[in-house]
């Protein structure tokens, strides 16, 4: 925590005489208002609908100003902010309330990079904010009714020529079905994509993973946008979109999921990110798509929801050695290993790998179960096949290492009722390793991520009784996912506090992560969705039924 802080303090001193100014940096609107809005939505976190009365707004504004002044004095989170958040967390109750204290609130705020946001320089996020700010999801004031913010344009009115790039660079549409080009994307991302705060781990999306994630049914190759160096054609920046029908509360919105924005580390001063965002937006407009969903680890105005990462430790010695986790004060590594030991056999009778013949049943179960959540991708049969079966890899289990096929990306399992032959449950997880930066013993952290799941227990009964029964079932289901992931030699199993995860994570020995995931909608207005927090009576997690890859 201290090193980045020091760096931040120095920033006003460094005046670079060589770096290009941002050509596309068009700030608009009042920053104080923006901050005010942020303070409302991001820090104290009530629904925007509480800020309607004029008086209240004024009060908030002056409060925000006071906080701001305190913030700008030093680079620490002011006590006032911490206190306010703490009060709010305690008042809202929920699982987090009992654990909340000034220290961990401060820490959480630090991790959410609030200072960066306040100063408007949250890395690439800053450009997202500036590029898309007028159409951020929750917008000014309370959402009156769900819907678009800016109307769609006919194709003829969409800008027809690509946005200009700095000299020496050129646009390039990537053909992800070409192994050479997907390798280029892989190379770019594996060296330059997202790292953790300590720059100890960096996502290493495999080529197979990218092929799976970027080519769902109906994908557009024009939405795989690259930037190359004109002279040698080296790929130095990338952004992608995939089409999706997203149900947001009662509306089904055909939109684009934006992901994998990446600029070469040594070109970060060129301000390519805002141009990439604008260009992929233009490409979407050309296909008649005017809404988007995207996620970020950082907070920019204004997320529709925030979720937190949880981690189930599997390979303790490796996780400790790579500093993914630490041995707690009251334990030894030996005890930690024993406490986190996963059984060697699964618990649910009828559990087996999902097959081609299960697609229709899984699609039906998915559709019914996902009605529980406020924001979900609608999958048809083809999409179910793609998302749960196409990533199963080649060859026999074991051909790609213990418990794995070659090039396996996803693991999907169903529970088949032995008497009726019906599919009663399914779960899936995917493999997303991270490079362990600078560790020669363990260069790669093998992480499994919980993907979608469903159980017909969630379709029966109601209220507390259903909650209880479903929790029990999901404990068994995700517990079995842990067994399978452990067999396949994953080091850690990750999940977010979304869907029905919140109640089961602690009991399955998941621990709190330091990462948060913020969900954003572009050009769509809706009230905050329950992620980390309860929103409008919806239990934590149940607002979000989408897993971003």
């Amino acid at each position: 925590m201290s090193a980045p802080q020091k760096q931040k303090e120095k920033i006003p001193e460094i005046i670079d005489t060589t770096i290009d100014a941002d050509v596309s940096d068009n700030e608009s609107g009042s920053d104080v208002e923006e901050h005010d809005q942020f303070a409302v939505d991001g820090v104290t976190a009530p629904a925007p609908s509480t800020s309607t009365s004029q008086k209240k707004k004024k009060k908030k504004k002056s409060k925000a100003k006071k906080l701001l002044n305190a913030i700008r004095g030093k680079d620490e989170i002011p006590q006032a902010v911490v206190d306010q958040v703490l009060d709010k967390v305690k008042a809202e109750g929920g699982a987090a309330a009992s654990e909340a204290n000034a220290e961990n609130v401060r820490e959480a705020l630090q991790q959410m990079k609030i200072m960066d946001v306040v100063k408007g320089k949250a890395g690439i996020g800053g450009s997202i904010r500036r590029t898309w700010e007028n159409t951020s999801s929750t917008g000014e004031g309370p959402p009156i009714e769900d819907g678009y913010i800016e109307p769609s344009k006919p194709r003829a009115e969409v800008r027809q020529e690509p946005f200009p790039l700095p000299k020496d660079f050129e646009w390039s549409t990537l053909d992800i079905s070409d192994p050479v080009q997907i390798k280029e994307v892989y190379d770019l991302l594996s060296l330059n994509y997202i790292e953790d705060d300590q720059a100890a781990f960096r996502f290493q999306y495999s080529a197979e993973f990218l092929a799976w994630a970027l080519m769902p049914p109906g994908y557009h190759k024009e939405w795989h946008v690259g930037v190359r160096v004109s002279s040698n054609k080296k790929l130095v920046a990338f952004i992608s979109g995939i089409p999706m029908n997203l149900r947001i509360r009662k509306h089904v919105v055909p939109l684009v999921e934006i992901n994998y924005l990446c600029v070469h580390k040594k070109l970060r001063s060129k301000r390519l990110a805002p141009v990439l965002i604008k260009e992929v937006t233009r490409q979407c407009h050309l296909k008649g798509i005017f809404q988007a969903i995207y996620t970020a680890g950082i907070v920019i105005p204004t997320p529709v929801s925030v979720c937190r990462y949880y981690h189930r430790l599997l390979n303790i010695p490796k996780l400790v050695d790579t500093r993914f986790c630490y041995v707690p004060r009251h334990m030894t590594l030996a005890r930690m290993t024993r406490v986190n030991k996963v059984t060697s056999s699964t618990s649910l009778p009828g559990l087996r790998e999902m097959e081609e013949k299960d697609i229709a049943a899984v699609a039906e179960l998915y559709t019914q179960y996902m009605k529980r959540f406020d924001m979900i991708p609608m999958f048809d049969v083809e999409e179910i096949r793609h998302h749960f079966l196409s990533g199963k890899g080649q060859g026999e289990i074991g051909s790609g290492g213990v418990g794995r096929r070659q090039k396996q990306v996803t693991w999907s399992y169903v529970v088949e009722d032995r008497e009726t032959g019906k599919i009663t449950d399914f779960f899936s997880f995917y493999s997303l390793p991270s490079t362990v930066i600078g560790n020669t013993t363990y260069p790669l952290l093998e992480a499994a991520y919980l993907y979608y799941y469903a159980s017909n227990v969630g379709l029966k009964g109601e209220g507390a009784e259903q909650d209880e029964a479903l929790k029990k079932r999901l404990m068994a289901l995700v517990g079995d996912a842990l067994v399978i992931a452990n067999e396949a030699k994953f080091d850690v199993f990750n999940a977010l506090s979304l869907m029905d995860n919140a109640p089961i994570l602690q009991d399955l020995k998941f621990g709190l992560g330091d990462g948060f995931l913020n969900f954003y909608l572009y050009n769509w207005r809706t009230a905050p969705l329950a992620g980390l927090n309860i929103e409008g009576g919806i239990p934590a997690g149940r607002g979000i039924g989408i897993v971003m890859l």
Binding site: I11, I14, I15, T17, T18, D20, A21, S24, D25, E27, S28, D31, E34, E107, K113, D116, K119, G120, K121, A122, G123, I124, I128, F169, I194, E195, D196, D197, F201, R202, F203, I258, L261, L267, R268, K270, Y294, T295, A296, G297, I298, H311, L313, P317, L319, C325, V327, R329, M331, T332, L333, A334, T337, N494, L512, G513, D514, G515, F516, L549
Partner: protein, 231 residues
């Protein structure tokens, strides 16, 4: 982009200033002046963007400097002249800088890339997913013998033992661990050496009935393993 082609001298001066040691001692005011003039010469007379927000202090200061320079200099040539004068006052000489320029001109393509000294912006700050690790517990400063064994504080432990020669080396903490258990588990070899030299019990069992040797084995600290195995 302005039509003005910066002179070779200007490019040299800019290259010189980019890494000039004298620049670190220069006030921000001067740096901003340099920046403003530089932008007038290389980009346009005034910034084409709107003024950055007050929260982006650096960006705003730079924007202001550029805008001010645009008002001061009518032609890029004037800005260039002023820039060169300032560069001279900061130790640049037209002849001395030519060497430095040779390499930067010879590989024109290198100009595309950021300099190595520019730290890449934190890799984490972006769209997409977040890389998460386990949230660390609160950091506790503990100067007891257990705390020192945990934090691998060798001088601290030596001082403690010097001052209090009667310290019980096998005292258990609130969780039932002796200092040697903690040092063996966390891999703090020097601490283990000191404890052994001072006569700590090498066979003492932890609450899980594990000895220091077993703990170091399980945690994969072969150096400590060897230390404890050698009688």
């Amino acid at each position: 982009m302005s039509d003005h082609k910066p002179s070779l001298d200007f490019q040299n001066a800019a290259a010189y200033l980019a890494s000039a040691p004298s620049l670190t001692k220069v006030s921000t005011v001067v740096k901003l002046e340099l920046y403003g003039a530089f932008k007038c010469v290389t980009c346009s007379r005034i910034p084409s963007t709107s003024r950055p927000s007050i929260f982006d202090m650096t960006g705003r200061a730079k924007w202001d400097a550029w805008s001010a320079a645009g008002k001061k200099f009518e032609h890029p040539q004037d800005a260039e002249k002023s820039y060169l004068e300032m560069a001279c006052s900061l130790g640049w000489t037209p002849s001395a800088a030519v060497e430095g320029n040779v390499e930067s001109n010879s590989t024109a393509e290198d100009d595309i890339w950021d300099k190595d000294e520019v730290p890449p912006s934190a890799g984490s700050g972006g769209m997409g997913n977040a890389v998460s690790t386990m949230a660390p517990g609160p950091e506790v400063i503990d100067k007891t013998i257990h705390g020192l064994a945990l934090s691998n504080d060798v001088p601290g432990l030596n001082t403690l033992l010097d001052k209090n020669p009667d310290t019980n080396l096998n005292v258990l903490d609130e969780y039932g661990y002796a200092p040697i258990h903690l040092a063996c588990d966390r891999g703090n070899t020097e601490i283990v050496k000191i404890l052994l030299a001072q006569g700590a019990d090498r066979n003492i069992k932890d609450p899980d009935d594990l000895s220091p040797l077993e703990l170091s084995k399980e945690a994969g600290h072969s150096e400590i393993e060897a230390l404890l195995s050698s009688a």
